[in-house]
Amino acid sequence: MLDAIGGMAGALGTASLHLLDLNSLFYIFLGTCIGLLFGAIPGLGGTTALALMIPLTFGMEEADAILMMGGSMAAATTGGSTSAILLNTPGTAPNAATTFDGFPLAVRGRAGEAIGAAATSSALGGLIGIFTLILVIPIVKEIVLLFSPPEFFLLAIFGLCAIAVAAGGRLLQGLIGAAIGFACAFVGFDPVSGVVRYTYGVDALWDGIKLVPALIGMFAIAQMIDLGVKGGSIAEDVTRVKIQRISDGIRATFRNFGTVVTGSAIGTFVGAIPGVGGTVAAFLSYTTQVQRDPNPDIPYGQGNIRGVIAPEAANNATDGGALVPTLAFGIPGSAETAVFLGAMVLHGLEPGPRLLFDHEDVVFTLILSLTTACVMATVIVLLLAKPMTYLTLVDAPILVPTVLIISLVGAYVINGEIVDVIVALAFGVLGYLMIRFNYPRMTFTIALVLGEITERSFFQAMGISDGDWTIFFTRTVALILVVMCILTLLVPSIRAVMERRTAVKSGAHPGGTT
């Protein structure tokens, strides 16, 4: 054990020395800027940034390449939060949950505060995720192996149970939104039999409705239709816009440090499970926060700062978590780490258990680059927050066509398919109708994200157990998840009953002074 710690310390020292070099800092800065830019432009995202960076790193030393790519990976979701807050357009899919409270804050003229909170919680979440990565490297194998299809299914069900809470008093409309989301998630290949469903002869839909064009439509285009109909600007009352409140957001993050820690823990944990990713983590973190805070000062969905902090801490913490299976087993935890894994192989590094023994310095170089980029990205976003906030004051006739065209280009460039433009527009109209008729778009999005995982892992679990349903109750982790699902559904009712009892009691014994 002491040898292992000594080895880790040595590797950490080597990596730190490498980081002190001006060249290394430049590569991290470059990666961070590219990550921020790609994160902020809807449709591009961190995966695209990494994929485009691979050819740029061919001629570089492996450590420099890792520094640059690590910087980009850490910064993309931080960049995505700014467009989520200012334009209700998640820059990357994991930023979708940030729009629920971030955009209402911008509408109230508190965009600076929201950006400050998002950037600070992103940095803290990212750092917590990375330190967790360092701590769990020795025991990672046991943790990841605890998850198999029954647990994946129940994890998805847990996310769906959160819908009941996330609907915020609109349970029925939330559930209808979720049903529509599921219906959309079934488009394309059936994950079990391979049969193609609901594609109506459109080959591009065989892989299903792509998440990013759908999210661009549901949030960016829907919002632009709404703005086009209403006119004015994003900030409803221009005179109330406070550009000076960035520091309020930073302070709010430290005041709600518990939310940061919970979000980061969820993000790291979910990130470590291959194939689940930052989007699920951010939604889980958001809904957990809504549950933990039954009597918020400002209702969630209407501009509660904790609704920004929770998902932003989680989606940045997934970076550290997702690297656990990537580095330890060579199993990518997310699309981003899958591209990163490819880049590592190109540079002659074979991810897997041997990497931790033979190239410990590389692992720590990556960890340090992520750490530095987390802080660097936050500083850059905070410095640029003020000018960015002015976006909320731009006149609708200027903003609507500009954002619409850039969003459509963003929807197209991910896969280079014109059908994604049509998908984005169609979801834009659906999203607008949902805004118009008071249906929560959050539940739709959760179902769209979890639909495929739910169906696939259910049939895989049934296949493993030869159709025996008890597989969901006889495994420890599965049982814990079942209990969590039940609690999630029951907690609001129990809380309501307890509150009623308290009210009755206080009515029976009204203080004694009157």
């Binding site: 039999s193 609901y198 066509p401 280009v409 280079g416 109209v429 118009r436």
Partner: protein, 220 residues
Amino acid sequence: MNGASLPTSARLGIVLFCGACAAFAGMWLTGLHETALVAPAVVGWAAALAASRPLVPEQRRQALHFSFVLAAFFIFFLHETYEYQGSVRAFPLMVGWIGIVLTGIEILALTKTRAGRILAAIFGVQPAEIAAGERPVRREVACIAAIAAAGPLVWLFGFLGAAPVFVFLWMWLWGGKPVRFALYSGVAVVVFIWLLFEFALSYELYRGLVAEWVIELMDE
């Protein structure tokens, strides 16, 4: 208002809607669904819409219409789902039927009846209540149509052709901006898109059908 004082049209609406649901359930149980689903579903849907309209307050009518659109979507989704077999349709069937039941409950919850109030309280329904003239439907339809027009425009002329035209027309016609400002803005947007996506990021943007035809003609 209590259940006993419901007007005849209210009872008729509820009966028709429940009848349509029962017909669905019956067809599902007896296996007649695959071909027999559409006609009674459409008749039941239209009858329920007509019968439930008088029960719903004026400011909730638009929400009612949207609920019926959603019901139609779930009926269509179910109809399509029955085309598949076995595990392929297991999950979608469940979602489709749940969707139908939920929209049915929502429609009932929108009515100003005792049953509606009870359902709204149990299921937490907060319908959009839109007063007449609050949001002119004509303006909404025009806005959606204008934004949707970006699709065919891009399809025909590609991003670099469609972007300046769309931005110019929107700013000038919809936003009432001066012609010169709209023109410069259109050019600025297309230059930004080209610089960022094609020049800096080396993406090849979609050129559009017209450009493809022109290139084909030139090749010939």
